[in-house]
């Protein structure tokens, strides 16, 4: 009845499991809970990276690590070098705020930390959702290992 253009393609029937299983596309990453450690000049702020996913490529379906800004910089560097994606930008490093003789707390100011937090959250969600980034070991280390081993061997992850 139909021409070749509109010919019907026989398709495989889905199993019940395939039909009803929750789709394996769930990925949520939150950057929360900024804590400033140390005193005086030796202070630094880090953030909690909370991840929940059911993507098969990630080994852990839930993970919780703490990362600081320089860790994000490290990740960005690794991805720019190894993956083929155009890596989005990080929120600013803000040198001005790190200079002495400021009337406020510089980079440990609440408002600044909050803005940075938002920027970092946007960054990591964009990056982690990209299939090419998901193949890089550096991303997995960043998201799911407690400590980043800067001497790791870069490489690709093959999904199960």
């Amino acid at each position: 009845m139909t021409s070749t253009a509109t010919q019907r393609i026989p398709s495989k029937r889905q199993t019940l499991d395939e039909a009803y299983a929750p789709p394996a596309n769930f990925l949520e990453i939150e950057v929360v809970n900024p804590i400033t450690h140390g005193v005086g000049k030796m202070r630094y702020t880090d953030y909690e990276i909370r991840m929940r996913t059911n993507l098969p490529v990630f080994k852990q379906k839930e993970s919780n690590v703490r990362r600081r800004y320089s860790d994000f910089e490290w990740l960005r560097g690794e991805l720019e070098r190894d993956s083929k994606i155009v890596v989005p930008g990080l929120p600013g490093k803000s040198f001005k705020r790190q200079l002495p003789f400021r009337s406020d707390d510089g980079i440990f100011e609440e408002e600044f930390i909050e803005n940075r937090r938002k920027g970092l959250e946007q960054f990591i969600n964009k990056v982690a959702g990209h299939p090419l980034a998901q193949n890089e070991r550096s991303l997995h280390i960043f998201l799911q290992e407690t400590y980043i081993d800067r001497n790791y061997v870069p490489g690709k992850i093959r999904s199960a």
Binding site: M1, T6, L16, A19, Y20
Partner: protein, 797 residues
């Protein structure tokens, strides 16, 4: 402005924008159709349908857009159908069906394909089988949950009148037009795809919006349910096919999806839409599936809906009896029990709800099998005991359900004695608190009174008293202020009404029952017996009066009657001593004396005397208020006048006692009035042996003379005047009744005294009234002269 306000404003804006486009394109579409430019019309239709691709709208708003678009599509469909019907060339419509499939975007493509397909099938029914299959398969192209659900809903809607409904093995007049087999396959596939999309919605979006998503899903449930409705509407869907294929496939989808929202809704849907006979034939399979549902599903609701449906069906008068093989009660009660055991966190009100349904089933469908209903009550009591459910307030969730379950057999049997046969019924009442138990018991009593359920044996009485035990005696959990509450009074009224339900033909048996009941009521304490014992006494009086007359010398009968009076006296005594009452027992004693007087039995005089003297003791000891005493004396006078069985030796002391009591009253005016009324004793009183009242004028006058003397001692002029006029009236009355000891001189004296006094009294409102009374009296006496010559001669007025 709240979050939801902001969102709904955005939604309204988006909907508005989309609706504008729809309107504009629909207008162009219609214009093209009118001009006969079909392709242009389809292009505009496609542009209109593109608005349904929107991802901006939530289900509520998408639905509104959908409704607008469908309306325009319907117009397109009917216009083209009418046009094509005129020429009726298959190539034309086949070509249209083909052409719409070249639409670039899938949403417009699918909607147009369905629309053309429907026209095609309406004009050429031989294509139905092929096209229905094609359409339901091709709609798989849209996998987005919201858009897919509405698309399939459209498909289901417009195909409703086209679904073939002929038996599978029918000889088709038009080959290819399909049988019910095609319809079943079509709906099954549509249903499973729609459920899949509906469940998939659960996983769309961030996890913090879970509740919002669940609410939106609930709004869309009817879209999925319509498939089941459509299945149920197929007339030629046989029970066999339902049992072997349709239900199993539905249940397979329901169980596999593992989604609580879908499961709970669809199980309920199945119960509601399919025929009762189908349910009876698939009970075991259905219930087995219930066990496999997710933990969050409220299975209790599903089970209750099913049992309710089946109960109504089976108990309906038009239903043919179900086969003995289907042991409904056993199946459902074991299911319910299993459910309760498996869900340890089931709240108590849910446990009771399940039992409500089971009792309803047992009582409505197995009226004769009392043991079924009883089993349910036993299991309920046990379950509640296990969960330590106690002291339940009647308006709490548990309380309300508990009262419901207790009322069901009362309402259905309409025979409280039958309810009493359920030995575990009382145990099921126990978890309620005091007020709750009383409410439940009152309900039973009210039913008995309404139905006029007679109590004929001691067993009957015992059984009912067991059920209403909380009303009969003080309970350990009874609040301290209970006797003062309105409920208490109403409840005791109900208990009192029970007495009138004791109806046995044999009078001796009746007495036995009344006596037994009396003993039970007697244990109720001061506040209860005040209300519950009087009816017993009145029933005993009724019984005594109705006792058959003696045949010859019947000492057994005499003994029985005496015993009854003993019972009466004991009961009235209890009212005096424990009940701490005075007026009521007093009147009851006097009533008893009158009753005894009317019945003939040997020791009648003894009994009458006893009752009267007891009454006088009560008057003496308990009735202190002077107004009450005055009226009490009048009552006892009237009673004594009615009594005619006392020998003189007994009558005299009683009469003198009454007179004395009157003379001893505290206030002098009261003494005068009392003596006036009791003077009638010597006039109208009658002793045993004499046929006539004694009419002892001498003694009457003695009494009245004393009264006059006392009246004269009253210091207040107004009071004295009042009393003297009162006495004058009395004298006059007795004179006219034939008392010869009352002479005109006596009258004259009183007349002159009152006249003299009336001049000296200071004027006032009260004085005027008294004067009027005097004048009326004097006028009456004047007119009486015409009837009595004696008066006419000697009266000085």
């Amino acid at each position: 402005m709240t979050m939801t306000d902001a969102t709904s404003i955005e939604q309204e804006r988006a909907l508005d924008a989309a609706s504008k486009v729809v309107k504009a394109e629909a207008f162009e579409m219609k214009r093209s159709l009118d001009k006969g430019k079909r392709m242009d019309a389809l292009k505009h239709a496609s542009a209109m349908l593109a608005e349904l691709k929107s991802s901006l709208l939530t289900p509520k708003y998408y639905y509104r857009l959908y409704v607008d678009v469908i309306q325009e599509l319907n117009h397109l469909e009917s216009f083209l159908k009418d046009e094509l019907e005129k020429e009726l060339k298959q190539e034309t419509i086949a070509e249209l069906y083909e052409q719409v499939q070249y639409a670039q975007s899938i949403i417009p493509r699918m909607y147009l394909m369905i629309t053309m397909g429907v026209i095609y099938m309406k004009l050429f029914p031989k294509m139905k089988s092929e096209l229905l299959n094609d359409l339901v398969e091709m709609t798989r192209g849209v996998q987005h949950p919201l858009r897919g659900l509405f698309l399939r809903h459209y498909l289901l809607g417009v195909s409703k009148s086209l679904l073939p409904d002929l038996p599978e093995d029918a000889q088709l007049a038009i080959p290819g037009s399909g049988t019910v087999r095609d319809s079943i396959d079509f709906i099954k596939l549509n249903f499973s795809e729609m459920n899949k999309l509906w469940v998939r919605m659960q996983h769309q979006g961030p996890s913090r919006e879970k509740e919002k998503r669940e609410r939106e899903r609930m709004e869309l449930r009817i879209l999925v349910g319509t498939n089941l409705v459509r299945l149920a509407e197929l007339q030629t869907l046989t029970q066999d096919v339902y049992v072997t294929e349709v239900l199993p496939s539905i249940l397979e989808q329901v169980v596999s999806c593992r989604d609580p929202i879908s499961q709970e809704y669809l199980m309920d849907c199945v119960i509601q839409v399919f025929a009762d006979e189908f349910h009876l034939a698939t009970l075991n399979e259905f219930l087995a599936s219930c066990k496999e549902l997710a933990q969050e599903v409220h299975i209790k609701n599903v089970l209750i809906a099913l049992i309710e449906r089946i109960s109504t069906y089976v108990s309906h008068p038009d239903t043919p009896g179900i086969s003995e093989d289907i042991r409904l009660f056993e199946i459902f009660s074991s299911q319910a029990e299993g459910l309760i055991q498996s869900r340890s966190d089931m709240p108590p009100e849910d446990i009771v709800s399940l039992h409500v349904t089971l009792v309803s089933l047992a009582v409505r469908c197995y009226r004769d099998k009392l043991e079924y209903a009883n089993t349910v009550f036993a299991s309920l009591a046990n379950n509640l005991q296990d969960k330590n459910v106690d002291n339940v307030e009647q308006y709490s969730a548990v309380g309300k359900e508990l009262l419901r379950v207790l009322r069901i057999p009362v309402d259905e049997y309409k025979d409280a004695l039958r309810v009493a046969l359920l030995t575990d019924y009382a145990r099921a009442m126990a978890p309620l608190n005091y007020r709750g138990r009383c409410t439940a018991a009152s309900y039973i009593l009210q039913d008995m009174i309404q139905m006029d359920t007679p109590l004929k044996t001691e067993e009957d009485v015992d059984a009912i008293c067991l059920l209403i035990d909380c009303l009969l005696t003080d309970q350990p959990d009874q609040p301290a202020d209970t006797p003062e509450t309105e409920e208490f009074t109403d409840e005791q009224d109900l208990v009192a009404s029970m007495v009138h339900l004791v109806q046995v033909d044999d009078k001796d048996a009746q007495f036995l029952l009344l006596n037994g009941l009396r003993k039970r009521f007697g244990a109720g304490g001061k506040w209860r017996i005040r209300q519950t014992l009087p009816p017993i006494i009145f029933s005993l009086y009724q019984l005594i009066l109705a006792y058959p007359a003696p045949e010859g010398d019947d000492s057994a009968r005499d003994a029985k009657l005496k015993k009854m009076f003993m019972c009466v006296m004991g009961t009235i005594g209890a009212l005096v001593n424990s009940g701490e009452l005075s007026q009521l027992p007093y009147n009851l004693y006097l009533e008893g004396a009158i009753v005894a007087n009317r019945v003939s039995f040997e020791e009648k005089a003894v009994v009458v005397y006893e009752l009267l003297s007891k009454a006088l003791s009560v008057l003496e000891d308990e009735i202190a208020d002077s107004r009450e005493r005055l009226s009490a004396l009048a009552v006892v006078t009237n009673t004594l006048i009615k009594i005619d069985c006392l020998p003189n030796d007994n009558w005299e002391p009683l009469a003198s006692q009454v007179i004395l009591a009157g003379a001893k009253m505290f206030k002098k005016p009261d003494q005068v009035r009392a003596l006036c009324s009791s003077s009638y004793l010597y006039w109208k009183g009658r002793v045993d042996g004499s046929a006539e009242p004694m009419r002892d004028g001498g003694r009457v006058c003695d009494v009245l003379k004393k009264a006059v003397k006392i009246a004269s001692q009253c210091m207040e002029p107004l009071v004295q005047q009042q009393l003297l006029i009162h006495l004058l009236n009395h004298y006059m009355h007795l004179y006219e009744d034939g008392c010869d000891k009352i002479t005109p001189e006596i009258l004259n004296e009183l007349i002159s005294r009152t006249r003299d006094a009336s001049v000296q009294i200071e004027p006032s409102q009260e004085a005027d009234n008294i004067e009027k009374h005097l004048q009326h009296t004097l006028q009456y006496i004047r007119e009486a002269r015409e009837k009595h010559a004696d008066l006419a001669e000697h009266l000085q007025i």
